[in-house]
């Protein structure tokens, strides 16, 4: 492919790409992001590849990224110019019959399958160019009838799972780089910043700083060299949307980055990715090569004087490097320790030059804003938080996955409508944890809270990078708080004392409480320590580390009290405070528990129900999980 040098050339290439993409014959698309691969998508791809080689009949095959519905992985889409069907929980045999049915264009046998729906995706260009896909299979539900997808509004993840991340042409077919071309043609960097400012886009990394303002500050800052960074060091446990976006649609991020670089006057961009995301690194590397080939990166982009290139830096497993000053230190090849701000990176960042650092999702949201206008984006969301929020809904919930919903949706809608409610029948969702180790736990009476930056902070949690972990009554909140403290204690870089020592002391206190040795004074001391750590830490990691403790103390004080006063763990999780017992009335003496016990603590008694040797038992829960008749009791 030769470089694209003019707007007209770009339009021709994009139009041809769109023609191929929308007009392509029967195609099997296998979802092959990390979740899909872990669920066995590779085997499916091989099955489909065999079919293409054998009696293909014009069948083609492509790999796509993540659709967000992780719970029904592996997923396969079958697409033709007339229809677009998505199948979840696909087996190898299932895929064969799906291909058979698609080739016969007869899906009547798929009536009862639960994870099947038809997509309504269509080219943006008013449908005259290519046929809009119509549902030709009346028995298969439309995507709007699927509760998981119906309330979603995809802006950041607009192309995820719909394009091949390794093929720039598919991105071009779905408006990829159109915004960059528009910006370069109009040649008005201030105008770009104004549009972003007017759209109300705020940093999607968690703190929510207005993106337009950050850009304007960097543009105004003195300096010939300026830099743009993608913060893809997504360290929050329970958040994987950045990985998903990079694995599924890397060009969206690169395009946003190039637009940002043009707006602030930078000529070099750096993507800082976690080492734990090998596939994301691979897609990005490939995307950068392709973008250079097409002339979207490199010297004199689109024949203008704007030159810009991107390189990748790979993290080395330090959570604190998600903090912007630590990230810069790490990118410069130093130990990733944060430094006090100001000066902010907008004034003095990478190599001392003005630097914009934005999250993957922020960059990904830029192109649609430029293309569709600030009003289009600002229409969605609440007064102070515009646009959409991307959440990773996980934990003990039915529809785990990646969702993008308008800001201002309530937690209840996200958890029960999109998420489908509790995973186990009969259990009750007790709380939701947002914002990772910096956030907090909100109890179910706060579920009517509309999700935006301010409301979540007011309630004692925060937006964070968008992890949303749902917990039911089997999770101990004290233990959960301890888990987060253990995380921050471990990940504290050790530069400042409050964070290094304070998180350790708080963790010790929680350890004491969960092992049944806590006293009332410990809680008071915990609160005091929390306020010290919060007020005196150097960076956001320490300043927000006490949040999980403070929020659980606020909303789940009764669980702390139960541990301290009654030496009891209400959720039956804290090992020191529980024991397992066989309920003779329920036990069917099937022997399953004795068979799985790793330490032979289940003492069988012939035809009578077994007993559990409390001294040998390691409380690993295996017997509890395998018992078919719920005869194992935790007390």
């Amino acid at each position: 492919m030769a470089r694209i040098n003019t707007q007209a050339e770009f339009e021709r290439v994009a139009k041809e790409a769109a023609g191929r993409y929308w007009g392509r014959g029967l195609t099997v698309r296998v979802g092959m992001a990390s979740c899909g691969l872990a669920a066995g998508a590779n085997a499916l791809y091989d099955v489909a590849a065999e079919r293409v080689k054998g009696n293909g009949n014009g069948l083609s095959l492509s790999r796509v990224g993540c659709r967000g519905s992780c719970v029904v992985e592996p997923m396969v889409d079958v697409v033709s110019p007339d229809f677009h069907l998505t199948f979840g929980n696909v087996t190898k045999a299932g895929l064969e019959s799906i291909i058979d049915a698609a080739q016969a264009n007869d899906f009547s046998s798929f009536e009862d399958a639960d994870a099947v729906w038809q997509e309504r995706d269509a080219p943006r260009t008013d449908g005259t160019l290519y046929t809009t896909r119509r549902g030709t299979h009346a028995q298969i539900p439309d995507i709007s009838a699927i509760p998981f997808y119906a309330p979603q509004r995809k802006i950041v993840t607009r192309n995820c799972g719909l394009i091949d991340p390794f093929d720039i042409e598919e991105s071009l077919a779905r408006d990829g780089y159109a915004a960059l071309v528009k910006v370069l043609t109009e040649n008005d960097p201030e105008g770009v910043i104004e549009t972003v400012l007017a759209s109300g886009l705020r940093g999607r990394g968690g703190a929510g700083f207005p993106t337009g303002r950050k850009w304007a500050l960097t543009r105004e800052a003195a300096g010939d060299e300026k830099y743009v960074f993608v913060n893809a060091d997504e360290g929050d446990p329970g958040a994987f949307m950045d990985r998903s976006v990079l694995e599924s649609d890397p060009h969206a991020v690169l395009e946003g980055l190039a637009i940002g670089a043009f707006a602030i006057g930078a000529s070099e961009g750096i993507v800082y990715v976690r080492a734990e995301y090998p596939l994301a690194v691979q897609t990005l590397r490939n995307a950068i090569v392709q973008a250079r080939e097409y002339g979207f990166l490199g010297e004199n982009i689109l024949g203008t004087s704007f030159s810009f290139d991107v390189s990748i830096r790979i993290g080395a497993g330090a959570f604190v490097c998600g903090e912007e000053t630590a990230l810069i230190a790490s990118a410069e090849g130093r130990v990733g320790e944060p430094r006090p701000r100001p000066p902010y990176p907008a004034q003095s960042g990478y190599k001392g030059a003005p630097t914009v650092i934005n999250n993957v999702k922020t960059w990904s949201a830029v192109a649609p804003i430029i293309l569709n206008g600030a009003e289009w984006f600002a229409e969605v969301g609440t007064e102070s938080s515009k646009g959409t929020a991307v959440f990773c809904v996980t934990g003990t919930i039915k529809n785990t996955g990646l969702v993008e919903v308008p800001m201002g949706m309530t937690l209840r809608e996200i958890i029960y409508d999109v998420g489908g409610g509790p995973e186990r029948a009969g259990s009750e969702i007790k709380a939701v944890q947002t914002g990772g180790p910096s956030g907090g736990c909100l109890p179910k009476d706060q579920f009517d809270l509309a999700v935006d930056y301010e409301k979540l902070t007011e309630a004692g949690s925060m937006m964070g990078s968008g992890g949303m972990i749902v917990v039911d009554d089997r999770t101990c909140m004290v233990s959960l708080a301890k888990f987060f403290l253990n995380f921050t204690m471990d990940e504290s870089c050790g530069k400042c004392t409050p964070c290094r020592e304070g998180t350790r002391r708080m963790h010790d206190l929680l350890e004491k409480i969960t092992s049944g040795e806590g006293t009332e004074e410990d809680i008071a001391f915990l609160e005091e320590l929390a306020s010290y750590v919060k007020d005196t830490s150097l960076c956001g990691l320490g300043a927000t580390a006490p949040n999980p403790v403070l929020s659980t103390l606020k909303y789940f004080r009764d669980e702390y009290d139960a541990h301290i006063r009654e030496r009891r763990c209400p959720a039956g999780e804290c090992e020191a405070l529980i024991s397992f017992r066989v309920v003779p009335d329920k036990c069917t003496v099937c022997g399953a528990c004795a068979k799985v016990c790793p330490v032979n603590a289940v003492v069988e008694a012939g035809k009578a129900p077994p007993t559990i040797d409390q001294d040998a038992c390691t409380r690993c829960r295996t017997c509890f999980e395998v018992c078919p008749s719920d005869a194992i009791l935790i007390e």
Binding site: A38, A239, T400
Partner: protein, 310 residues
Amino acid sequence: MEAESPRTDSTTTGQSGSLVAGVSNKVGSVLVVGSGISGMQAALDLANGGYYVYLLDSEPAIGGLMSKLDKTFPTNDCAMCVMSPKLVDCGRHLNIELVTYADVKNIEGVPGNYNVEIVRKAKSVDEEKCTGCGDCVTGCPSRYVVRPPDEAAQYAPELTADDKDFVDRLLREEPDVEGNLLAVLQDVSEYCRFLPEHVLKYVSDATGIPLARMISIATFYDAFSLEPRGEHTISVCMGTACHVKGSGLLQSRLQDILQIGNGETTTDGKFTLQTVRCIGCCALAPAVRIDDETFGFVMVRGLEKILKRF
């Protein structure tokens, strides 16, 4: 050194004979074991209260750990500013006798009347005459000669020709080694499976980047190890979703099966076990990754079967 001996504490209660009935011949001197900040403060309080105090430490100098700290929690006070007046007071107090570079060998007796046997290590300096001028330290001809421990001297593998080629090529292809030190170390780590000292030394010699800087990076980031690692790395995800779904149980079961602790390598060098902070497969929780392969919805009872595949 750190011993906060309750035995000496009980002699310091000062309430004569209240602890053990019938002990009336209380001797008016106290031994404080350990001369860290709390030991020094205890010695000063006692000495000011009229007791003669022996302040003992196994190190050649008093002061303990606090002298190594910059700031103290939670007030961020300067550590030396807090402790140096106490150091001076302890040294000059007429009621305090410093017994440094010494260990407690034996304690006999009852509260109120102890006989303590102390072993003083040889200092080869006459303390009565020494004024602490420091001239002997500056004048010592072998002060700056580095003497590595014996086993370290034995273990100094030479760079193989392959290793050397690899590192040379790496450094040649990287124009800005200092700025991209992280990436260079990642490549070395991938090639050697850990960061061997002799390779780091070679990189340091070739680039002029101090070895200490590489070590500081290697110990800061989780991805690096200065110890040899196993053939396969098992990473148990400890993300929140995995935690809620019981990844802690997976980790403890793996430790039992492999008979190693977290971060350790099996004796046969096959597996290294580590925890990792979220591999981003939260929807498949609990997840375990072995090398590049991710396993979702892992059950405690399924672990052995997974391990057998490797």
